[in-house]
């Protein structure tokens, strides 16, 4: 029971500072789940991230997978609820009052100020996934090509994920 409560509270706390969505939270998830709590090792963390990436659904699903790996189905539910509940309640309560402060200067300031932080977090997520996976030259090259394809082409990411899976199966990464 205490493990489930811990899962719930760790993810609830995490998502209270998750500006920029679930991807921006990967570095902190890694810090808490791997370095602090030792619930998973580096390799499993990377694998679960890859599975969530390859499956349909919101990016936050990696949280459910982590919960599942740590404590089975109850763990998945506890972690998912931790992710959705605190900010969900916030949104629900704020919906009625948003129009009062939308457009106010302090609200614009926060919105302008939070954007560069979110960018830094997503860079950190890319860096830490690469580090946790311990990619060789093949992996680094594949990641670089993927980033270039994302920026320069209109290919659907799913094709890139498929290609990555094939490259990995062939042992190139």
């Amino acid at each position: 029971m205490s493990l489930l409560a811990d899962l719930f509270f760790q993810f609830a706390l995490l998502f209270c500072v998750a500006f920029g969505g679930a991807s921006a939270l990967l570095p902190e998830m890694h810090r808490v789940v791997v370095l602090e709590k030792h619930w998973l090792d580096d390799a499993t963390f990377t694998h679960l991230y890859a599975i969530a990436q390859a499956a349909p659904g919101p990016n936050g699903l990696v949280v459910s997978l982590i919960g599942w790996e740590v404590a089975g189905v109850p763990g998945a539910l506890a972690a998912s609820l931790g992710m959705v509940l605190p900010t969900g309640i916030m949104i629900y309560l704020l919906m009625q009052h948003w129009h009062r402060f939308a457009g106010a200067r302090w609200q614009q300031s926060v919105q302008l100020g939070v954007a560069p932080l979110a960018v830094g977090l997503v860079f950190a997520a890319a860096f830490l996934i690469g580090q946790a996976a311990g990619f060789g030259w093949g992996g680094v090259l594949l990641a670089g090509l993927t980033a270039a394809a994302l920026l320069k082409t209109k290919w659907h990411p799913l094709w890139l994920i498929g290609l990555g899976g094939v490259a990995g199966l062939l042992g190139w990464v």
Binding site: V17, R31, A124, F135, L142, G168
Partner: protein, 199 residues
């Protein structure tokens, strides 16, 4: 605070109240979004809400998304809660967010079961490493794209760098880093907006 004027209130335009949307429709609508969203569901959410089912106008969508991105948390889950609660209160919010996560959760847990059984095979490990490398590249590309879209880069790029160093290299706890840097960055933004004379 007294009642503000309603002229730029989202959803206030036209004066017609939104057509009733049932919990069942909310659940099914967001289920379709969750299942079809590979690599981020936001584009699919927009298509379902604005173009297919017309539960929101384009402006209402932008305004609601602004609120969801302004607040922490999983953005699309927040969006589903906002839309669900608008039509059916708490029950609608629960129906929408359960729809969004239900299907994908089942799929991902099935994949997790397979991983537990076959995850030790070298082929599976190779496959997942390949997918993780692409995921890493997607994150990097997304970050670059977001960085290029930043406003007033000379003021705000240092904050991007500071977050990266604190979180990725020093491994400081993110809640502390975010609260401290957000206060600073919002302060800089406030001064900047004031100088520009924005309303």
């Amino acid at each position: 605070m007294p009642e503000a004027g309603a002229q730029d209130q989202p959803g206030g335009g036209g004066g017609d109240s939104p057509a009733p949307v049932t919990c069942r429709q909310l659940f099914l609508g967001f289920s379709s979004v969750g299942i079809s969203g590979f690599g981020g569901v936001l584009p699919f959410a927009r298509r379902m809400l604005v173009e297919e089912r017309r539960w929101l106008t384009a402006e209402e969508f932008n305004s609601l998304l602004g609120l969801c991105q302004f607040l922490p948390g999983p953005n699309v889950a927040n969006l589903s809660i906002a839309v669900g609660s608008r039509y059916q209160g708490i029950r609608g919010a629960i129906a929408a967010v359960t729809g969004l996560f239900g299907g994908p959760l089942l799929i991902v847990l099935l994949l997790g079961l397979l991983y537990d059984r076959y995850g030790q095979l070298p082929q599976v490990q190779g496959l997942l490493r390949g997918v993780a490398a692409v995921g890493c590249g997607l994150l990097f590309g997304t970050a670059l794209r977001m960085g290029l879209a930043l406003q007033v880069k000379r003021l705000f790029l240092p904050f991007t760098l500071a977050v990266f160093v604190a979180v990725a290299l020093l491994r400081w706890p993110m809640p502390i880093v975010m609260v401290a840097l957000l206060a600073l960055a919002a302060g800089v933004a406030y001064a900047h907006l004031k100088r520009k004379g924005a309303p």
